[in-house]
């Protein structure tokens, strides 16, 4: 029987890299989509607003696992074969976009209405109002919850194993199946998750403190 040694540990570390990569991709694409949906959700154009809130409602109301199954098994049943990494990145990006859209919509809405009025009165366009007045303030407000969500995302990426993708969690399980040294293996897996998430949690808490201490600069 195989024992848990350096090669196995290295395999787990490499898979942690995949977890990080997947998190980064999902967060990056999800941010772009989420930002767009947040703005659409607040648009004056009614169908844009409805489209965005419909999208957010649907995605938030179904398990992300469903999205993953749809994009992997569902599409393959229709003849479109996505590689696991692509299906996983796409599904997680969609999941991230819906949640970030809501976090950011809330942040934008918490900028006082008078700031919009002051900006409009100074002859700014709507785009200029967002760019120079609203978003800089909304970003500050949104940083703590956004980083908090990122911590959840790191851990939630572990669901991608259901489409055969080997992430940190799946790597731990594979090594365990071969060596049966569950305690050592999952201690290592847990330690790696902790090493990723703990600094992020601290960052989130730090940002929250900084934001509360000085609202404006």
């Amino acid at each position: 029987m195989q024992t848990f040694g350096w090669p196995e540990a290295l395999f787990i570390f490499r898979s942690a890299g995949w977890t990080l990569a997947l998190t980064a991709i999902a967060f990056f694409i999800g941010s772009i989509l989420g930002g767009a949906f947040a703005i659409m959700r607040l648009s004056r154009v009614r169908w844009l607003r409805r489209f965005a809130s419909g999208y957010i409602l649907v995605i938030q109301s179904i398990p992300v696992l469903m999205v993953l199954f749809m994009s992997y098994y569902g599409l393959s049943a229709l003849g479109i074969e996505l590689p696991p990494f692509l299906a996983a990145s796409a599904s997680l990006s969609i999941y991230v976009s819906a949640y970030l859209a809501e976090i950011w919509r809330g942040s934008i809405e918490s900028v006082p209405r008078q700031q919009w009025e002051a900006s409009a009165s100074l002859a700014h366009t709507t785009a200029q109002t967002y760019r120079y007045v609203i978003l800089p303030q909304a970003v500050r407000i949104s940083l703590p919850p956004t980083v908090g969500f990122l911590v959840q995302l790191v851990k939630n990426t572990s669901i991608v194993q259901v489409v055969g993708f080997v992430d940190l969690m799946r790597a731990g399980m594979l090594v365990n199946n071969a060596t049966y040294q569950a305690f050592q293996i999952f201690t290592l897996v847990g330690a790696i998750y902790f090493a990723i998430c703990f600094p992020l949690s601290r960052l989130s808490r730090h940002l929250e403190k900084v934001m509360n201490a000085s609202r404006s600069h």
Binding site: A118, S119, S121, L122, A123, H124, Q128, Q137, S216, H217
Partner: protein, 243 residues
């Protein structure tokens, strides 16, 4: 041509009619104070003049622009019409200097060096040159309001609107703001101000307009109007405000 021409404005909030046919003409360089109880429609009227509120019937012309819903034309109008609010509404993430330079830079493409000189000039006008690099939160209410006035002035407006600009201030801070406004008035700025400062209206405004129940109830040269109210409503209002 009048700087501001308001013709028979009607405005409803739902079924409540807040402006019931208001007409007003303001000549260039004139200072007009609008007084009245809360709910008389005075702030709503002022906000109609730069398009922050829409109206259902009537016509408004300001500084050669006709009030419109067209965003491009509305922006052109707003370049010529400054407004100062009760709650200052400075941009808290920008320094005083940045607050002032932003709009000339992005709406009129004023070059950086010129915007800087402009900002220093208007800030000197309100007596706050030393606060150029401060953030709004580090200023007193009176100072913030003076910066808000400077920010409007940097757009070189032809008409300035003041919406109860001293109402949120502690009594000892209203003086410095009123002084800046008085200087502006003497400098020939066309000004419309909604105010509770009866003394300021009487001494600085050429004309005072008393609004009541969504209408201009009474108007005239300030000194005459305050000395000889023609209606019992204004008479009561002036008496109530006197002490």
């Amino acid at each position: 041509m009048p700087a501001v021409l308001i013709e028979d404005i009607h405005k409803r909030f739902g079924s409540l009619e807040v402006l019931k046919g208001v007409s007003l003409s303001v000549e260039p360089g004139q200072v007009v104070a609008i007084i009245g109880r809360s709910g008389s429609g005075k702030s709503t009227l002022l906000r109609c003049i730069n398009g922050l509120e829409t109206f259902h019937a009537g016509k408004i012309e300001v500084a050669g622009h006709t009030m419109t819903q067209d965003p491009t034309k509305l922006r052109e109008l707003r370049k010529d019409v400054g407004i100062v609010f009760q709650s200052y509404n400075l941009f808290p993430h920008l320094t005083v200097g940045q607050n002032i330079m932003l709009s000339p830079r992005i709406t009129k493409n004023v070059p950086q060096a010129e915007a800087l000189a402009l900002a220093k000039d208007v800030l000197a006008q309100v007596g706050l040159s030393e606060k150029f690099d401060s953030y709004p939160d580090n200023l007193s209410g009176g100072q913030q309001q003076r910066v808000a006035i400077a920010r409007s002035l940097a757009m070189k407006p032809k008409v300035m609107l003041f919406d109860e600009v001293t109402s949120a201030l502690d009594p000892e801070l209203t003086g410095e703001v009123l002084l800046v406004m008085e200087k502006l008035a003497k400098g020939g700025m066309t000004m419309l101000l909604v105010t509770h400062e009866m003394n300021f209206a009487r001494t600085v405004a050429d004309t005072t307009v008393f609004m009541h129940q969504g209408k201009i109830w009474e108007s005239g040269p300030s000194k005459v109007l305050f000395a000889n109210p023609q209606t019992p409503e204004l008479s009561n209002f002036v008496k109530a405000g006197a002490h």
